[in-house]
């Protein structure tokens, strides 16, 4: 069975997010002062072949830990649904 995973990989809260900081200040200069604390990470979508949702979860967890997210710098969470 094919499952679709949506994964968000964000920089750890304690770390400086240079990209988020730059976008926040530009939004303010564009006349949208009501925006604060922009943080930018990655949104990853992928398809995974697996016999059950549980196994699909295990595989996605492994992919996140080993490749998609750098544990030193990033945290991740994901949702999985059948295709």
């Amino acid at each position: 069975m094919k499952f679709i995973a949506e994964i968000d990989v964000m920089p750890l809260k304690a770390l400086l997010d240079p990209q988020g900081r730059a976008v926040t200040s530009v939004l303010k200069n564009m006349g949208m002062p009501e925006f604060e604390n922009v943080r930018i990470g990655k949104h990853v979508t992928l398809e995974v072949e697996s016999d059950s949702e549980a196994n699909a979860k295990v595989k996605v967890e492994e992919a996140c830990k080993n490749l998609l997210a750098n544990p030193i710098m990033e945290s991740f969470h994901y949702s999985i649904k059948a295709n």
């Binding site: 920089p11 750890l12 809260k13 304690a14 770390l15 400086l16 997010d17 240079p18 900081r21 730059a22 200040s25 750098n70 030193i72 710098m73």
Partner: protein, 680 residues
């Protein structure tokens, strides 16, 4: 901000926890005349750490020659060395290491290394115009090395390219000994009009102390010998394990810094490197023989409830400290606002030499500046050293134990494709080498990187060099070779060697055999610098480069050399030019294959002395080559180095899209003649 540090019992045990020895703790008690509080103890622990105080190396570093022609700022006086290069211009240049952060997180480790070294240059008022880097990794076939290298090269590329300073040269070297602990050394070179530099000093009662740039977070606090996890209430989750560099913020800092210096309203400026605020406030105050009142609650913070010691020790990137003349703040602040830079007045200069740190009016630390800094009260140690066993063994190598090969073509192919010798285009094409339109070597390669000084008729010749295999085999000779080879490259480019900076990467100084490598290498470097009259203008020491189970990495004193080409139309390139030109080999040939890539990798014989080297012979050869180039008698010049004569010829041939036809010297073995790495 719940500011007051919890009252933590301070004793010898707490001191040891913070990396201070018992007698260092006693010394602090004597200086203050009382037991230090926790914040004061953490101040001393970071200022007397190896990283900031050089306590285990300063004694020997001072033996290196520091006088020489055109030297405007001697080593240790300023953030970077300063050399007069004529036409009213001076050149500031320095090399520094970021080895341990890069081993943890290669991309950010290397990126922040580039950021740090460039700040050392523009904090003096010089505009960085060129960068180089020296990288060493383990075995190229391991996944770990591939991961480390990809991250490091991308980090240097992203930061350097976005910051807008061209990467014009460098070296990449692979050896097992660097498997776990890569070496990432970054060098920056900047130009400033003589007399328009700014010093890292602070004086003038009442002058405001201003922090510029990024807000302060809990970055790198345990980077400076600190184990504080159990002391703060926050969970470890709030302790950033790595520092994140922002090249865009650095570009704003560069342009703003150069602009505020021009107003003449700046008394002194220093970038925030290791140990952030405490390091800059203490070093600037000690240099200016003055004190400071600092209000830590005024420091812009990126994270809530930071303890006073966390604010003082934070190593958040892209921050500068500036002392402005009282009454002229507005001029400076207007420029900072122009460049959208955050800033805050966090203190004032006082007479005397006390540094007083307050939080909402309450005194949290009161220490004398002089006692914190290198050259002041920081301890200086003489470590014991002992010649290691392997050194004797290596000298016993006998060339006759190596059978002369029959198939030379096979060896030539092997060496030409060896990662240490093959072209590094796949690396340097990820760096912007042309921004600034100064790189004269992009289309016509020379041994050194040639950088055009636009408003004058001269050019700079730049090189980073070190064969750590020679230094391991014989630190004294290896150190001298590192300097000589850098000089050789500059001479072959038509330049005149002027001065060096160095990045001394060694193992654990408390290991007597490692310290022997350090002392012998320093002696070799010193002798060569004296011979070539290239003084040491400063640099950096990086100890504790260990490859956990295999002992220390090779001793790696990387030399960054600056040379001048008085007439930029007389740059010498390395490519063969015309068919029929004669090829001269200058210097003696020896029956010597010791420590060559050929012996080490092809024959897999790793125990051998350093190759033949004689300092005065080396100087004579270079002097002759310099004259021959000045008199326009040659079409190209290229130095023999890794891989031997054959590789040198092949490089010149390929660059000129021509071949070559030579006769070998029958008086010595053919493999020694072609692949030996006897120097000069």
């Amino acid at each position: 901000m719940e500011a007051i540090a919890k009252e933590i019992k301070v004793n010898v045990e707490t001191a040891r926890q913070l990396g201070l020895s018992e007698d260092e703790f006693q010394k602090i008690v004597t200086i203050l005349g009382r037991t230090p509080n926790y914040t004061e103890l953490s101040i001393y622990s970071v200022m007397w750490s190896e990283h900031c105080s050089y306590k285990n190396s300063i004694y020997w570093i001072k033996t290196l020659p520091r006088e020489g022609k055109g030297l405007l700022a001697k080593a240790g006086e300023e953030n970077a060395g300063l050399i007069d290069i004529g036409n009213g211009y001076a050149c500031a240049f320095k090399i520094e290491s970021h080895n341990h952060p890069s081993a943890l997180e290669p991309y950010q480790g290397a990126a922040t290394g580039v950021g740090g070294i460039n700040r050392d240059i523009f904090t003096m008022g010089a505009r960085p115009i060129a960068q180089l880097n020296s990288l060493r990794f383990g075995n190229i076939n391991t996944d770990k090395t591939k991961w480390l290298m990809k991250g490091v090269v991308r980090g240097i590329g992203h930061y350097g390219n976005a910051f807008g300073v061209p990467t014009v040269g460098g070296e990449v070297f692979f050896d097992e000994c660097y498997n776990v602990n890569p070496l990432v050394n970054a060098m920056s070179v900047g130009i400033v009009k003589v007399g328009e530099t700014i010093s890292a000093t602070s004086y003038g009662e009442g002058n405001p102390v201003i922090i510029i740039g990024s807000s302060t977070g809990k970055d790198g606090i345990h980077g400076a010998t600190f184990a504080s996890a159990d002391i703060t209430e926050d969970s470890a989750e709030s302790l950033p394990s790595v520092q994140v560099g922002d090249p865009f913020q650095e570009k704003l800092l560069l342009e703003a810094s150069l602009e505020i210096i021009k107003t003449g309203a700046v008394v002194g400026m220093q970038d925030m490197g290791a140990a952030g605020i405490i390091c800059s406030t203490s070093e600037m105050s000690a240099k200016g023989q003055s004190g400071m009142n600092i209000w830590l609650d005024k420091v812009p913070l990126r994270q809530q409830n930071m303890q006073p010691f966390e604010i003082l020790l934070s190593e958040s990137q892209e921050r500068m400290l500036v002392i402005v003349k009282k009454g002229r703040e507005k001029e400076v602040e207007a420029i900072l606002e122009k460049w959208d830079l955050h800033y805050a007045v966090i203190g004032e200069v006082t007479n005397g030499d006390r540094l007083k740190y307050y939080v909402h009016g309450e005194l949290v630390a009161d220490v004398p500046a002089e006692t914190l800094v290198l050259g002041g009260g920081a301890p200086v140690y003489h470590r014991e050293f002992k010649e290691p066993q392997y050194y004797r063994e290596f000298q016993k190598f006998d060339i006759d134990t190596i059978k002369e090969p029959s198939n030379y073509k096979e060896i030539a192919d092997y060496l030409l494709t060896h990662p240490n010798i093959a072209s590094k285009r796949w690396v340097y094409e990820q760096y912007d080498s042309m921004v600034g339109t100064v790189n004269m070597s992009s289309n016509k390669p020379s041994d050194a990187a040639i950088v055009n000084i636009k408003k004058s008729d001269s050019a700079l010749a730049l090189k980073v060099d070190c064969n750590s295999r020679y230094v391991y085999a014989d630190p004294h000779k290896g150190g001298a070779i590192a300097v000589s080879e850098a000089a050789r490259n500059i001479v072959c480019s038509g330049g005149e060697p002027m001065a060096i900076t160095n990045c001394l990467n060694f193992g654990n100084p408390y290991n007597p055999e490692v310290y022997w490598q350090f002392v012998e290498a320093i002696k070799g470097i010193g002798e060569a610098c004296t011979e070539f009259n290239t003084p040491v203008t400063g640099g950096n020491v990086s100890f504790y480069n260990q490859s956990s189970y295999e002992g220390p990495v090779f001793p790696t004193p990387v030399i960054g050399m600056l040379g001048i080409i008085k007439n930029k139309n007389k740059v010498m390139t390395l490519d063969f030019k015309n068919e029929g030109d004669l090829i001269y080999l200058i210097g003696e040939c020896y029956n010597d294959i010791s420590s060559s890539e050929y012996l080490y990798s092809w024959h897999n014989v790793k125990e051998a002395p350093a190759p033949h080297f004689d300092l005065s012979e080396e100087y004579e050869v270079q002097f002759a080559v310099k004259e021959v180039i000045e008199k326009n008698l040659v079409e190209s010049a290229h130095d023999c180095s890794d891989g031997g004569l054959f590789i040198t010829l092949a490089e010149s041939a390929m660059a000129g899209k021509l071949g070559f036809d030579i006769d070998t010297d029958t008086s010595i073995r053919k493999d020694a003649f072609l692949f030996g790495e006897g120097q000069s």
